[in-house]
Symmetry: C2
Subunit: 421 residues, 2 copies
Amino acid sequence: MIVWLGDAFIAVGRKGKDMSKKHKVEIPETMGAVCGVVYIFAIILFIPFAFRRDIVAATSGGGSKDAVLNVEHVETGRILHRFPLSKLSSYAYALISVALIYILGIADDIFDMRWRHKVLIPAFASIPMLLFYYVDFGVTQVVVPILLRPYFGELLNLGSLYYAYMAAVTIFAPNSINILAGINGIEVGQSIVIGILILLNSSLYILPLSSTTTSPPNQATMDVHLFTIYLLLPFLGVSLALLKHNWYPARVFVGDTYCYFAGMVFAVVGILGHFSKTLLLLFLPQIANFIYSAPQLFHIIPCPRHRLPRFNARTGLLEPSVTTYPPEKPLRKPLVPVLELLHTLHLLEVKKGESGRIISSTNLTLLNLWLVWRGPRREDRLAIEILGMQMCVGLLGLWVRHRLALLVFTQDNRAVGANHV
Amino acid sequence: MIVWLGDAFIAVGRKGKDMSKKHKVEIPETMGAVCGVVYIFAIILFIPFAFRRDIVAATSGGGSKDAVLNVEHVETGRILHRFPLSKLSSYAYALISVALIYILGIADDIFDMRWRHKVLIPAFASIPMLLFYYVDFGVTQVVVPILLRPYFGELLNLGSLYYAYMAAVTIFAPNSINILAGINGIEVGQSIVIGILILLNSSLYILPLSSTTTSPPNQATMDVHLFTIYLLLPFLGVSLALLKHNWYPARVFVGDTYCYFAGMVFAVVGILGHFSKTLLLLFLPQIANFIYSAPQLFHIIPCPRHRLPRFNARTGLLEPSVTTYPPEKPLRKPLVPVLELLHTLHLLEVKKGESGRIISSTNLTLLNLWLVWRGPRREDRLAIEILGMQMCVGLLGLWVRHRLALLVFTQDNRAVGANHV
């Protein structure tokens, strides 16, 4: 569909030029929109399969509601257990959140919203999901690390603060993907890496591989992690299809729609799957990029419209892009020693004029920093290195989380259920 | 928001000229998109209020799940009754269907899809709703009218045919609104009329007004009709706001998005509210328009791109638009007597050339037919008359449905629950 619809997108003006190529041809933009629709339909069509066992149980009595109750009664024994509507709702509210961010993402791509409006898009879209969390799960306690237990007790109830935290996760995930962007394949690539890492994490709860798991995994934990896997596999599917066309040299652009959509899928599985803190661990490169970018994002130092690496048409390689400080608009005085310190620490590259005045500094993005460290390189090489780094950091994070968690908590929740991850 | 966003819509090319005005200025198009988003957020933000009683009951025990079970246990006695997740899901799946048709409707407006593709848009969007119907309610029996009972028994199980029927309703409702269109305010106006009629119908089940209701209304019936009312009130709100700007002389166009969105809201409440047959009764003018249009829609006689009434710039009035049959492309022979018969029955107006050959006939839409019957009139006058006619037909339909139903069925379901409407 990406190939089929490319021309249609160009026809209605959804197109753009790749700034990092020698021959700047116009290619279709906002192609994440196609992925989003395919994903939503994939999930909808998959829902019956996720509930196959329940549907079979429910209809073997002839399809009427009374028979359902009897059959389930027989199956579950004492407790009158109906169709797992809670699970069914979780898919629904996850989907609504994804559909909403998709709608708002497209609005953003079409109308090119202002930065301060678009940051809040995920907050609006997260409302249905948080609402559902409130009704269905509602746990706002967190397990307190051993060191802090004398002060807070074993479980700390954060109450509405916990909802603020979840909203923050939801706002952060889509936007952080959106700002680690600018070269072919990086938006989709990083999303795929995160997706794979989450899949890995969830598999640990489901597969009986590990020797540390003494008790069999409980049903509720299995269910939420199956839910995660069900939501992620089609996501990886549509993302790989998009990556095929978005990888260097890109034939389509993904648009903000895709970044929001991807971030929202992660936030939804992280929150409804009750592993939002583990999720943040997998977002470490994005968090680093956000912190590193913050001085420019909050306009402490000047921020140009585009901060993507600069394409050197002579060598065909990408170089760090810079923000220049012309004499009539110099860098503010107190910032000069800070930038010089960062330069010494190899966290930035500044150029000085004859008078010793700073005339330019590299833009504060992870991609530029990587180019400062490792020298100019081709666009696809840069993407591969960044994604490789991300994968290593993520794997290390997961290892730390599951091996070293025992040092600060009394037990790894893999053995006792995922309620307080 | 319609006023604020108008310029933004024009800026990105979502604009069009009103063909029935003297001064053809460009006004924003696809404004139904604004309504749709506002509606979806209104429903999401309303959901907690719909469940206020349940949430209060569920959290009075301190917010943990065990307490919920206890509180509810106390309240409902023997049956372990959890949060009404079934109701919660029904909102979710209704919303997903609305969100989907909204997404596809916008895609249609942006890409201007072909007729044979757009007809199926509602079918795709209805999948989540039908899925939910299957799981939650699953009743596929219909009550058989008394006359037919010797042949079919009292209840006839239509099985998967019933799902085909519901899909057909869902496909019909949005498209029928989309083809009864072409003058200012008619799309929104007819949707508001239908909405009011459904509200009236649902109120009959909830308000203890009627003397024929011997037993008190049961809880399940109340719930589905409250569901209907909750979904319709915000719909009427956004529609009235849109009508204000779309009424003659229109300052915005509504776009296919609105027609689909409106039709889907009706289909959702009709099907999940279990009164899809009553719903069809309220669509009588649309059904008539569809049947009357069918020869042109299926290209039995030629169909021009636009069939909206023709604007006479001299008088400022609308006249029936015509399809012409030039000598090189005459009307097919077998159709000539048919058109002449319809002309005699005042169901069409044909013009004949000197040779007695039919050179033109009015386009087959209800709006043109009305102009044939009642003569040329101003755009807003025509809209008011059509909407008035629709209101009368609808009220008559509801009266027939609730008063005369007893003649063909043994009882009016208002007294016994709405399961088989």
